[in-house]
Amino acid sequence: MHSFLTRANAILAYTLSVCACLTFLCFLSTAFSHYDTDVRLRTFKTVVKNVPDYSASREKNDLGFLTFDIKTDILLIKYFNKIFIFNWNVKQLFVYLVAEYQTKMNSLNQIILWDKIIIREDNAILELKNMNTKYYFWDDGNGLRGNNNITLHLSWNVVPNAGLLPSISAKNVHSFAFPSEYTTSRL
């Protein structure tokens, strides 16, 4: 009855069930944590151009330029009223800066202007000065010129070792306006 195969089978089954159980407990231990922080955003040098978008329709679309500052105290994770930068079930944070605005053409536009992957070993305090956007700020049409309510907010997507993938937005947003004239000169 107790052949090599049955013993190997028993050990394998037991190992797998223990692993599954521990993984589930790990997920459960962080499933109810709140992730939140204060973010300060500022923008400078906002410029809008009207140039053909060769990556898309080749029509002339609005292209915005801006530089920005980000300051977060720390990317805090609140967990049972205690504060950690990373708890044990956080593998990576994907931090991204979203511009959100309305145009005549679209009731909602969202564009990621900048992102950063922060893995466990990295410093999770962001203090960035005078940054250029990482991605082009192309509008879908001509809705950027004179647009006076473009909001920026910082969000981050928590990638766990095992578990849920929550996306959290910082509560404070920053609004800015684009100038009402196109810039034609080279930047």
Binding site: S3, L5, T23, S55, A56, S57, K91, Q92, F94, Y96, V98, M105, N106, S107, L108, N109, Q110, I111, I112, D115, I117, I119, Y135, W138, D140, S155, N157, V159, P160, N161, A162, G163, L164, L165, S167
Partner: protein, 180 residues
Amino acid sequence: MWRSSFDDVKRMNKRQFLYQVLSFGMIVSSALMIWKGLMVVTGSESPIVVVLSGSMEPAFHRGDLLFLTNHAAEPVRVGEIVVFKVEGRDIPIVHRVMKLHEKNENNNTVKFLTKGDNNSVDDRGLYAPGQLWLTEKDVVGRARGFLPYVGMVTIYMNEYPKFKCAILACLGMYVLVHRE
């Protein structure tokens, strides 16, 4: 060991053999029920997918498992990880939404552009020729949960068909021969 199990089969009478076949059928049908039930609950045509490429590293590696939902009430937003299918490619792609434009409410159309975290350019090169944006009908689901490594089994099974046959044969034999 093998001989003894074959002897077991020989010693079975018709009823016992039928019972074993039926219990095998129960396992298959309950697996199917769970899968279909998950489809109903999550609203996604494929609620669990295996990550096949490294384009989302270091978040997702090859062989990680993702749990998806696709409820119509929750619109797609920027920063979400979507799983989408492109015409002419049979493998679904797992990437992040980077740009999104939503038209007015009455003809509620959303178009969006994706990019893999580990890729330096957006996905327009991966879409069907002439396709510039994804829409909701391309989406299989949005990633909600993550489990590492488990999908390696299915990757091995797909890469080595012999391995798959061996596993299926073993499981089938075990269920048919095994007696409580």
